[in-house]
Amino acid sequence: MYQVKARVLSNEKVGEAHYRMKLEVSQIAKDARPGQFVHIRCSSDHDPLLRRPFSIHKCAQGRIDILYQVVGGGTRILSKKRRGDQLDLLGPLGKGFEVEPAFSKIFIVSGGIGVAPLYMVAQEITRLGQGKEVTALLGAKNKELILGKDDWESLGLRVMIATEDGSEGYQGLVSALFERLILSQTSLSLAVYSCGPVPMLRKIAELSSHGGFFCQVSLEQRMGCGLGACLGCVIRGTSGYLRVCKEGPVFDAQEILWDDPDLEIR
């Protein structure tokens, strides 16, 4: 874990309210594992006071990318940063995805901005990979919001699109597409990695549980320290409260109490 002043290399608008920011952060880039996140101080004054967490989307020599959506004050400030600006980052934080060689069939299921943490796990899988059947299901409201499709395709895995308005690929929710693909399979060598809105994840988790699949999801909660100290970021797990910043943000789906209405962030 490092605290660094990262230099913004670029901050490109890639969708309605979506941006990709490249940051120069050698140490964080060196240690980052798929699914981990960075905690960014957006403002140097008190508005907003706290840092904001963002998944590490990509990671290459000496730099990381984050992919983010503007939803409030913190992300709005981020979206105004330009090349050369500095940002105070903590990272890499949290527990990432686990990929085991035994998995032979793998689904990556993303909804909306949930695509952010999944790219690195896809990379890892394809690196580990020969002989695996890997499918990435990318869901979004419409085709403009399918972010980085080319990147995904260049990984050499099967990419399928679901859009709610049917403007590209399957028309409907990505969880429904997933349901169709796995039909009523049961398999212990099938693994699912997912991130997206809670109702979608709930569905993925349920299907995976029925199928006996290994399923990991990346979850969100409002964060304080990001380091496991404040106990502010908990969600309800089957064994009690779990800190998203420490036991997560990636959890085995079965660790989570999916029927807790407070899973949906307020």
């Binding site: 874990m1 006071l49 409002r222 100290a229 404040c230 502010g232 908990v234 307020r266």
Partner: protein, 306 residues
């Protein structure tokens, strides 16, 4: 040690290398910040509250931001004193800094039992008694809002342990100096102030409270003027050393408390914003002393010019 400027201060029997502590609940049990802060460079660490039994804490969300402030409703989640002694204290003991353990309870006997248990172990320099908790035996009346309850609790604790007792006051009272005086009379070694101010926030789109527990405690820069005022009021009424707490983000903020009468400060919410802020504050204090040509930090305590 004898270096100038000399940052050392004493809270009764507790002698600190410098006046900067980290506040309870914002620094865990000392492990979480190890990559950012060498505890040996701090005055000390005040731990997250320890209770007799493990506590699950409140439902999420537990945090909500407000202008220059943070509402939290952690609800004293902690593993309980047995686990604390087994899993947290061994690590804490190894740190080269003062270890102050924050204790909380719902009944007087819980506090006493806790204090006794903790007092028997080595490695703890003081207890910070969080009296912002509801007393289940008195219809939920907060210990820290009644001079009588506070007095009787501290008096009891004094008999239960030899550890120095730092009483942490709640700001949610009409006159904080009354409670401060009660704690002083009962034998407190020092006072910490302030704990969080009770508050709430509502999401007007969902029409739901932003916190799962509905209300929570307000911390951060927003509360600093209230905390500084309370430190000054208390400084004028009691003779105990005070630990100033509330919205300290910088050395300058810390100095407001010192000039108002605090002997030391504890940094809370700011640790979330910048995990190394406590060290930066130590350094900032040193620079201020140099700039002002003051050799001994303790000369600044209460040195407000009216």
């Amino acid at each position: 040690m004898g270096n100038i400027p000399d940052l050392r201060v004493s809270l009764g029997r507790i002698h600190l290398r410098n006046p900067v502590l980290v506040a309870s609940g914002t620094f865990g049990y000392g492990e979480e910040y190890k990559d950012f802060v060498d505890p040996g460079e701090l005055g000390g660490i005040i731990t997250k509250a320890v209770t007799l039994k493990p506590r699950k804490g409140n439902p999420p969300p537990r945090l909500a931001e407000t202008p220059a402030g943070l509402l939290n409703s952690i609800g004293l989640e902690n593993p309980g004193v047995e686990m604390f002694l087994k899993e947290k204290l061994p690590h804490l003991k190894r740190l080269k800094t003062k270890i102050i353990v924050n204790i909380a309870g719902e009944k007087k006997t819980e506090y006493l039992y806790l204090a006794e248990k903790l007092g028997k172990r080595g490695g703890i320099d003081a207890l910070e008694v969080n009296i912002s908790c509801p007393n289940v035996e008195k219809r939920g009346l907060i210990f820290g809002t009644s001079a009588d309850l506070a007095f009787s609790l501290v008096k009891g604790l004094k008999q239960a342990t030899d550890l120095p007792l730092i009483v942490k006051l709640t700001p949610n009272v009409t006159d904080i100096t009354e409670i401060a005086q009660a704690a002083e009379e009962a034998g407190a070694e020092a006072l910490s102030l302030i704990n969080t101010i009770s508050g709430m926030a509502i999401d007007v789109n969902t029409r739901r409270p932003k916190l799962g527990a509905i209300t929570g405690g307000l911390s951060g820069p927003a509360i600093r003027p209230v905390a500084v005022r309370m430190v000054r009021q208390t400084f004028q009424k009691v003779n105990l050393p005070l630990i100033g707490i509330g919205g300290i983000m910088s050395a300058e903020d810390a100095l407001e408390f010192i000039l108002a009468g605090a002997t030391a400060v504890a940094v809370g919410t700011a640790n979330f914003v910048d995990p190394a802020v406590s060290l930066r504050i130590v350094e900032g204090l040193r620079q201020y002393l140099r700039k002002m040509r003051i050799d001994y930090f303790h000369h600044l305590i209460g040195d407000l010019r009216i």
